[in-house]
């Protein structure tokens, strides 16, 4: 073999090793092994009635209900999320056997929600907020799955996502998960009240408030230390998502009752009414109990205050 040939062979060998290493690192099984909190026994079936609260708190309908029709339980998918990475389209979450999750097992669903992996072993993009849902317990997820199975089956699949390279390369999400996906379940804080723990579980888990109300880093992960502090609208329309921390630039002047009221009626203490995608969030939180809304408010008021003023008004065009 010539020197050139040897070099070429060495390079090819390295490339193969690199590819193999990449394949191993990005495999869904690797995340499960290294970071996921896997339980020995997954509940085989859940309680559909109990699961309704997770359906509402999780806001499943906001993304998965078929757009353009009023029934929020028809989860044909197709809702769009416009982001700097491209357009994400929500899949069919109805119990349709071919197009939805009709053939899934409870374990499939729990894995999707906690590890962001489909039953056929592909990574989901974190536009599906498993980064928050992973905090939920297996029992609650099994109840939610049971509830989803009671909803109407809707035929049809949504078109694929429309993402720019390299984000279109799904397998690469394995690396993203190793870096940014916390595999752990919510841990109650025994030093805090039951209501606080309930609120923390609702806000950080199913409610996934931080997913919109936090600025993100260059990789699209929530910027730690700025969690819940609001920021530019991730849907990129030039809006500003409010700061939820109890700082003067956030909810500092709000009483817990004010926050609970907003989650019920959509009205702020000044009787402004929330708009944009928060209107859909309020339709969901309006279905929760007063106690759950109060608990969420209590938890939000206990967050470390972070300063994040809304940008000054742009000068009117001259």
């Amino acid at each position: 073999m010539t020197r050139g040939g040897r070099l070429l062979a060495a390079a090819a060998g390295l490339a193969a090793l690199g590819a193999a290493g990449f394949a191993v690192l990005t495999a869904p099984a690797t995340f499960r092994l290294l970071k996921a909190e896997t339980v020995a026994s997954v509940p085989a079936s859940g309680d559909a009635a109990r699961g309704k609260v997770w359906f509402d708190a999780g806001g499943c309908a906001s993304c998965h209900a078929t757009p353009g029709q009023a029934d929020h339980t028809r989860l044909g998918g197709g809702g769009e999320l416009h982001t700097p990475f491209g357009v994400f389209r929500s899949p069919n979450l109805s119990p349709h056997p071919e197009d939805g999750i009709g053939r899934w097992t409870s374990a499939d669903f729990i894995r999707a929600m906690r590890e962001g992996v489909s039953p056929d072993g592909r990574h989901y993009y974190p536009a599906f907020p498993y980064t928050s849902y992973r905090a939920m317990t297996e029992a609650d997820l099994a109840d939610l799955f049971a509830h989803l199975k009671t909803l109407p089956a809707v035929a049809g699949r949504a078109p694929d996502h429309d993402l720019s390279f390299p984000y279109s390369f799904r397998r690469g999400l394995g690396l993203w998960k190793l870096a940014f996906l916390d595999g752990e379940r919510f841990r109650p804080d025994p030093s805090k009240s039951e209501a606080w723990n309930r609120g923390a579980y609702l806000v950080e888990g199913a409610g996934h408030c931080a997913e919109c109300h936090s600025p993100r880093n260059a990789f699209g992960a929530i910027a730690e230390g700025r969690r819940h502090a609001g920021g530019p609208d991730p849907e990129g329309k030039g809006g500003f998502v409010p700061n939820l921390t109890p700082h003067a630039t956030g909810l500092g002047k709000w009483e817990t009752g004010d926050i609970a009221e907003l989650l019920k009626s959509g009205f702020t203490p000044d009787f402004d009414s929330v708009g944009g995608s928060m209107a859909a969030v309020v339709r969901n939180t309006a279905r929760l109990s007063d106690a759950d809304r109060e608990a969420m408010a209590l938890y939000l008021k206990s967050l470390p205050p972070v300063a994040n003023p809304r940008p000054k008004a742009a000068e009117p065009r001259k």
Binding site: D233, E235, K237, G238, G239, F240, V241, P242, E261, S265, G266, F267, D270, F271, D272, S273, V274, G275, G276, S277, M278, A279, A280, V282, R310, A313, A314, E315, P316, R317, K318
Partner: protein, 145 residues
């Protein structure tokens, strides 16, 4: 030369006037929205049980709604899509007919409520329906803020 110059000066005045009209419309519609919010405080707190029912206050608020519904569609002229800290969505101008129709509907519902609401029971039954118009319209036509 003079004619060109004076035409230019005249044009620049027109331009400034238009800019004033634009920022004016944005400021006016923002104020109008604030007035509606302020008018909702009393009936809103009555519904929340934080204020006693008062028919006169309810009617005063409904009158603000009727008046605002009439003037607001005119406060979104073309050219006011941006600036002045507006949080109006581009959809306002893309679907102006629907946008205007929603104001008309809210206005006539408020006018009807002026006579339909006669006591606390009819207030509790009718008023929340009118308040729902706020969120329904904001969902489509307002950006996050």
């Amino acid at each position: 030369m003079h004619r060109i110059l004076s035409a230019l000066i005249a044009l620049s005045f027109v331009g400034t006037g238009a800019a004033f009209a634009q920022s004016d419309a944005i400021a006016q519609r923002k104020q109008s929205m604030k007035d509606v919010g302020a008018a909702t405080r009393d009936p809103g707190q009555m519904l929340q049980g934080r204020q006693p029912f008062d028919l006169a206050k309810v009617k005063a608020s409904l009158q603000v709604y009727v008046d605002s519904a009439q003037k607001m569609p005119g406060l979104y002229p073309p050219g006011t899509e941006q600036g002045g800290d507006t949080s109006a969505s581009a959809k306002v101008w893309q679907s102006k007919a629907d946008f205007d129709a929603r104001f008309a509907q809210w206005g006539s519902a408020s006018r009807a409520a002026l006579t339909a609401i006669t006591d606390e029971a009819s207030f509790k039954a009718e008023f929340p329906k009118i308040m729902q118009a706020c969120g329904a319209c904001h969902e489509v036509y307002r950006e996050k803020k």
